[in-house]
Point group: C2
Chain length 389, copies 2
Amino acid sequence: MLQPLVSALQYHTLSRPLPLWRGGALSSVTVAYETWGTLSPTRDNVVLVLHALTGDSHAADPHDPDNPKAAWWNPLIGPGRAFDTDRYFVICSNVLGGCQGTTGPASTNPETGRPYALDFPVITVQDMVRAQRELLTALGIRRLAAVAGGSIGGMQALEWAVRYPADVDAALLFGATERIGPQAIGFNAIGRNAIMLDPAWCDGRYVPGRGPDAGLKLARMVGMLTYQSSEGQWLRFGREPASRPTSPSPLGEKFDIEGYLEYQGRALARRFDANSYLYLTRAMDLYDVAEGWESGQAALPRIQARTLHVGMSTDWLYPPEQVRDLAQKLHALGKDAVYRELPSVHGHDAFLKEWPSMARIIDDYLEAPRALLAVEETGQQATTPQQAS
Amino acid sequence: MLQPLVSALQYHTLSRPLPLWRGGALSSVTVAYETWGTLSPTRDNVVLVLHALTGDSHAADPHDPDNPKAAWWNPLIGPGRAFDTDRYFVICSNVLGGCQGTTGPASTNPETGRPYALDFPVITVQDMVRAQRELLTALGIRRLAAVAGGSIGGMQALEWAVRYPADVDAALLFGATERIGPQAIGFNAIGRNAIMLDPAWCDGRYVPGRGPDAGLKLARMVGMLTYQSSEGQWLRFGREPASRPTSPSPLGEKFDIEGYLEYQGRALARRFDANSYLYLTRAMDLYDVAEGWESGQAALPRIQARTLHVGMSTDWLYPPEQVRDLAQKLHALGKDAVYRELPSVHGHDAFLKEWPSMARIIDDYLEAPRALLAVEETGQQATTPQQAS
């Protein structure tokens, strides 16, 4: 059951049905995952890395380690890197409800022999974490040296620390809050409506590979626009004319931002399942760390892990103030919670782009957390939540 | 030609073709307008009011003056109000390219006898202003005591001051900048893509009244979400379940913000033309005050009017900082430009919601502009741009 140094996609089928947070169960769940590094004899060196909305298990690519586009956290995972595979056994699985190897709406429903489509049950962040837990248990892993993720991946990291408090040493959350607000829910809803407006969606019963590409493209355009900052878009695109091919327009030449959004939209439509997009955005909407505990105040006190909360300075979708609020709440509860703000023009996406800053923050935190409280060589002072302005 | 006290919709057909800023001409243009108050014998008391994207000429409703929903600036226009119709002759026309009486894509193309649809030429803010100028000339009006508008209406007010500098005494701009940036262009593009994704759009050749309602609804959902602030949405909707009827969902109960956006989307689809939405959002994208002058720096120095620039404190689509920047530029050029920030949780839409604040700002400015530089009874200090923080 121990995994040697591997980097290829592996599959594990859970040995029992997965009961679901909002009721019902999935009778058969397969989880796709990848690992990097070597599990220590005492199994105490595991780092679970959690991908964002449209990510997958391919967090690192040892065959192309210096290409940031070859894997979504490629510059952060590897020998000598922030998540040092000479030291840690790093594992990343595709989320429940996803479409890159783990069971989701495009998977075959064993009851019908056809894709689940909308017969797939509503899933939650809690269910994603439970599936990850089942996978780790099957791999003989009980304890996590660290769990880390951004956006909905950060929500999963938080849920890990709440749900399995004795088994998580450190949780690293990037651009993640306890719950999202109405604005973020609204943008997710617009994306879902775009998919469902596409006649090729067919109430979810499209033939895999012949789905609502135009609707999914539009949903991605909404997402990409919100993951970035106005400042960053001014710097990169300004009001320049489109430098990429664009779809035909009755209204004259398009702007560069339009060409960029269309390019990103087409790219996602080629690799992602539209129904998965519906279910995963809904899971994000539904997540509330307080849900299911005896009182709204009972969840956070459960946490035993030390936690790092990183806000992206120009993130308006998951504002750094809200990321800091969570750190402050935990600190007020006597927890070992640290807040850092990552200065960036890249908005929410900064945790997927600011490699040197991300590496330094993670490295500092995993290696010598107390050092965070000292003045750094950059002149930036890390803060406890109370000190943060 | 002089208009008595009237409040009903009137129509004027321009006596000559309207040449267009980006080339070509419209051979026949009708402008729908309404007026309130009485034109003075010297015709020196005219206030031109300019509506926002989906607005119309019905800025005030003397038959239902205390209902803010009966007309879009109803609480600000009337006897004794900020735009005092005992003193001013107030006029508001539907914009060129609109669908509420003025020639637009749904109008009959005289060359074909059918609606223009996509044969309608690309129009710009400059063209809107030119059509307004033609209307006023026909009404015997040359000079404006004030021109006022919010959002794209504010852009038109700015264009008036640049294009006809000798004929504008004061320009009042609410939530308006010299040009919009890539983020706002991106949201407009997403709205347009939503309309064009709806199979009922039919490349723009839908039968009037049987158009792409679902697409236009989705476009409006995008717009409404961006016109409001995250703070305001938290206060009003939070994460509460939908309190309004919602479209069917495969993903369980919706949130209140979703029901609200759907409600607003349906409301617009009932009253607005989808092709108009395409053309008007494009006009907003294309507007750049500098365009067409010998150098990028030549436009603003032309202004002779005194100008008021009001930023909405929580407007992230047209940020108050950018509104202030324009005021600062004008001030640096020696112009009489004043910046005010309107504190509100209502985001960009604050100029359509914060009635007492709006009334006070307009009233102060029109009655005694210098008083703005004094400390007000609220303790708030109005500022010249340099003083603004």
